[in-house]
Symmetry: C2
Amino acid sequence: MKINQFAYIPTDHQTILQELKDTRFLDEDNLHIQYPRQLLRDLLVRLYSMHANLSTRLEKISGLLATPTENANTYTNKPGSVDKSAFYNVGLQLLGFLNDLDFSVNDPLKAMKQIGLPIMDAPEQLNRDQVIDAWYRLLNTRNKYGQLLIDYLAGKGYYQQFLKNPTFKKPLFFNGKAQAVFDTSRLVRETVYVESSLDTDHDGRRDLLKANIIRPAETNAGFKAPVIFTADPYSEGMNVKWAEKYAHDNSRPLKHKQPNNLTYADVEFHYQKVDLPAPRTIKGKTNQAGETFTKLWSYSLNDYFLARGFAVVYSGGIGTRDSDGLRTTGTRAETLSATAIIEWLHGDRTAFTNRTDQIAIKAWWSSGSVGMTGRSYLGTLSTAAAFTGVDGLKTSIVEAGLSNYYDYYRENGLVVAPDGDDADALAEYTFSRQQSAADYAQIKDQWLAHLRQMKIDQDHDSGSFNSFWDARRTEKVNHTKADMLLVHGLNDWNVKTSQVWNSRNRLKTRPITQKLILHQGQHEYLNNFRSFDYTDIVNLWLTNKLFNINNQVNEHLADVIVQDNAQPETWTAYPDWGGSESESTIYPLNDLINLNENTIFPDQLPEDDYKVYSNDLKKWHHDLYSRDGSQMDSHCIRLLTKRLNEDLVIDGRPSISLRVATNQEFGMISVALVDYGKARRLTESPQTIDSMRILQGYHWRKDDLKEFLPQKTETDFKRITQAHMNMQNRNNSYKVDELNAMTFYRLDFPFQPTVWRLLKGHQLGIVIYASDMEYTVHGNQDVYYTVDLKKSHLNIPKLK
Amino acid sequence: MKINQFAYIPTDHQTILQELKDTRFLDEDNLHIQYPRQLLRDLLVRLYSMHANLSTRLEKISGLLATPTENANTYTNKPGSVDKSAFYNVGLQLLGFLNDLDFSVNDPLKAMKQIGLPIMDAPEQLNRDQVIDAWYRLLNTRNKYGQLLIDYLAGKGYYQQFLKNPTFKKPLFFNGKAQAVFDTSRLVRETVYVESSLDTDHDGRRDLLKANIIRPAETNAGFKAPVIFTADPYSEGMNVKWAEKYAHDNSRPLKHKQPNNLTYADVEFHYQKVDLPAPRTIKGKTNQAGETFTKLWSYSLNDYFLARGFAVVYSGGIGTRDSDGLRTTGTRAETLSATAIIEWLHGDRTAFTNRTDQIAIKAWWSSGSVGMTGRSYLGTLSTAAAFTGVDGLKTSIVEAGLSNYYDYYRENGLVVAPDGDDADALAEYTFSRQQSAADYAQIKDQWLAHLRQMKIDQDHDSGSFNSFWDARRTEKVNHTKADMLLVHGLNDWNVKTSQVWNSRNRLKTRPITQKLILHQGQHEYLNNFRSFDYTDIVNLWLTNKLFNINNQVNEHLADVIVQDNAQPETWTAYPDWGGSESESTIYPLNDLINLNENTIFPDQLPEDDYKVYSNDLKKWHHDLYSRDGSQMDSHCIRLLTKRLNEDLVIDGRPSISLRVATNQEFGMISVALVDYGKARRLTESPQTIDSMRILQGYHWRKDDLKEFLPQKTETDFKRITQAHMNMQNRNNSYKVDELNAMTFYRLDFPFQPTVWRLLKGHQLGIVIYASDMEYTVHGNQDVYYTVDLKKSHLNIPKLK
């Protein structure tokens, strides 16, 4: 077990004294205690003060061993200094670690070092001030259940007893993080309708956008809450079944495309100025909302902050149930339907209490400081909103967000969407107005026409870039003023890493602070892991950005944190990703071991194999990379380096340069980089290691504790990254070039960026193949490919 | 989609009027409305009255289609009768069903019939009284999300607005079920220590037992709450890692046992009268507890009742953290540590505020009526407590509970525990005192000695019944006064169906009401299924048993409800299980199709196969039953009936009578009944079909909606039931008989009871084999078995 902590801010003794007073661990009653042991006793009695009864508290203390032979009650019931080992024996038990399993009371420091828990730099005997400092650090140490001890205590009711005391600070900050001192049982839930500057359903009225607000009851007494806003197109319902019929069948042939001479200017999208209907007349004003709601899906990261004084706002945006408009999958209109909510939260836009009465209501309870959160489509909208530079948005926290829809659904002139997804299918999936039967009856014809047009414009058949896709490059506009925290999974093959790579590079041109976290998962949340203090990082971040607390997060938090793929529970700080700390290394392909001695390969599989693979993509992936012999052996080229003499860390965006010929007038090439070598690799989906263990507040939400655990058995290989190219788009994704049969062409294209450690003894592999059963069209066509390995090479950015 | 509803109580119009008044759907303001449409409008406005704003409510009504062309707002804004189809169009939408997906507004009744939703027996035009009756029935109809509409509305805040009105009833009952009108945000959580009449750790003081109480705040104002009590030995922590080293290795040889002449009198356990320490002196009294707690694991069935006026109490029992005593795995002492809590709740026993001060505290907030709930070990304790006839216990709801530990860990003289589990390992697993380091330090030596003695006494090596196991037959004592609701999975191979079969038969001798529910799952909860209204049944049951409301549950609820294995989402009422409605049918084994023509088979597998199967029990099970040819073909006898001409329903406990010889002086026989025939069978684990969809109260817990769905592909077979016997225990499980090599013996033994429908065209199969890789010891010994099929037969209880 390893615990990594990035969000602790080193704090001086004077500040510690003040913060311990603020949190009621110190006050006039115990500050005079001179004997370290008696002070520790008093601190322990306070730690258990959620129990009204003193005897109960002492019973709890009696249950802790201070030394192998003495419990903490008797140990602290005498004068003298505190043995460091006694302090940490007690500390480890408070953190939930078990004697004789996680540590031994005979040598607590040994286990702490192994786990990675902080130990005070002090002599073996702690004096009074050292006990205070060590106590502070202990409260700010993560426990066995993935929480800071202070957060765990808050969940157990520690702060509850002080909340009615008028001198108790609210909001309260401890080591730079907002504390769970708000009453989640009294949260106010209300709905408003923000009037946007859009009329996407062309009904002659500006689109009203429903916003669901959860705010602390304390706002009713004057507290102005900072706001976490999540633009969530899924929040009002998903048309799972209805969208199924919009799925595209990718088991179809690749076709020759008519060459063109398009330049970017030809495909650039230009916004047309449209006449907007006049705003609705404001017929009255109120501070009182008239609608409430119950949230079904719970975004646990947001819930955590509800106990800490933040308000949380959700909005589905245009085309979602109870809002106006149409879904468009990633256009500026969707972005503006997110920024409209922020403008209202910042005081710059009108909202109404309902869709009928035109009674305006202000976000009078909002501090005006907004941070966005969300994963996937939600993260995409956080990114897009930040790029606009909208006032009031202080930060976006983007988990697996897009910045470019072309790169989501296409790659170098090829369709690359799994499951036949495309922009039209996603539009239908999120158009939850359809679930409101009477509303849908009025808009049905327009909606179906809109979908038909999307289907044409997205040009699924060609896979080329066009102005439809240019309109869905949210990165195009970059007026970003918000600080950005980007989070992405290095094994995310839904939203791929080029999205965060591009976002990050675009943001580098802006005068903002950005941070990056890369983990070993697929398309996952990170806020319930034991080995990594993501929640605390976000708390530190939002406390700074939205509460304006100067907690030095910009300076103190590492710019890039990467989870190691080769060692479980290991997270490392880096100065950059694919920056000057890595150097380009060329691998001529002809110098590598050619596993099956192939240089020519047919794409076509025997019909039986094709069927088996179509129904079992896992088997196809396995056979494609496996070096143990499979039906794929003759359908790809597998190249391997020698065994590595030392660890090799790929850091950034590898690329490949190939000379390829085909026997047809169309063709595609796919390439995967593979880590070969026996290892127990990490699971890409989080595994629950303790259910309902994380207490997000006092009798508030609980969350499962998770981890990417090592798999139970060793595997011989793992794909690191991959890339695909339509040979007719060898120059770019919109210009279609001629392709003559039996003619060699040079293809230069990049992989999805990564950070990957290949261990000493492993081999780096390159697997070159054509159609991708999971990603691209795959018609099992009679096509041969020849690769001129002598004139081909791989380029790896290698960490120096 | 099918929805089965068992917990609706037919209600007359006068009672309907009163209950609709109680729930505020009717009052003086709308009872005078004569036009049916306008009354429906008023009811709809009230349904949405959680929204303060009238315009908002009308907007919601406008979102519903009443007819293909008119929304419910305009439809109800005129005089006249209500079209039945309009009523149910609106009704279906209120229930969450989607037009053009789940139903069509052109013919709502068609979908309702298919789904199984109740339609009022009324003409096409509903008059005023019919609208009222249909509205009442609609509120008591289950929605798409597995909830009654009234419960869904409560979750959305419908009742919330009335709670401060002193004329509003609390508790409130609707169609015989307690309503979610209690304020879960103010629940009181407190801990007491009940003094038991036990001293299982022999420290000269009676064992104190920690009890964690969650009670409605309304009890502080005089409300006396009925109590749901769950005795949960896992609640204070589980020693997962520590228990691992107590696992027994079952990959070991079966041994010859020394014959004996034991009678039951020789192995009967007799309780020794022990001198009990005097009770603690009561040094004071209080009504105020001094300790609080935070519950991690949430038992969603209990949580549901917290919103409905029930208190919920959890206690780990002897040997769990913060209690005294030792874990014993199923002895009377464990039962008494559960009944001690009931006695306190009923006013018959002392509890203290803490372990130190001897200040007594009564359960002053308790109505004295207690019902127990729980699954597995928890259900075992509910059963055991009921058998004692303890005062105050009005009912036990037993999900997959044991009544006999021998039948859990052994079968006919064989060990049958998967994963090498046994009584000692479970004792260690639940001995959570070990997690309190200082407490454990004092008791460690005694605990280890106790475990060593358990290991000797349980006699894992022989598998025979002895007085250790007789002491763990909780069914022995049967003074049951409580009404019983038993629930069990027909595919539960953890707690097997003989447990509920035996409990039920024992309970038949008592003057109580018992009901039984058998589902198609493994070891699962049922309270979050869409197709079955288990939660409502339990509500009806507990409202009757604990609130003493005369809701006719005894008379109205079917005695036995069984989920069909052959049709998804189908639950059927039966008068009994394996009673007079089924008749015994004999199948001579020699008349059956002998698939591999085996009558003799070796148990021993080639070493490679043995290894593969040891690591892949799923494959072993597949190969054992498969008729497609496998490595198991020569290691078993597979017998099949002809294809069935009509459905065959096995109802009760089949048995087999075999003549068997072996070439050794030891031997075991296993037999499985198998349903052969292609079908998409149900998953045995619940699948989530909609996450966090069930609202258990207003801003209270949510639960995932689940179902046993049909598997994605067809399978050729499924095991129905199985049985195992040590040939030396052919008379009973304690008397060991001689076994001579090459000599035929008659073995008569029963299968686990079941209810199973074999469809017409399927074949009933019998697979006879020896060692069971999953269940029994399996040493891969060189043993041959010969079965004299001419003198062997199967006995099936067949539903007439």
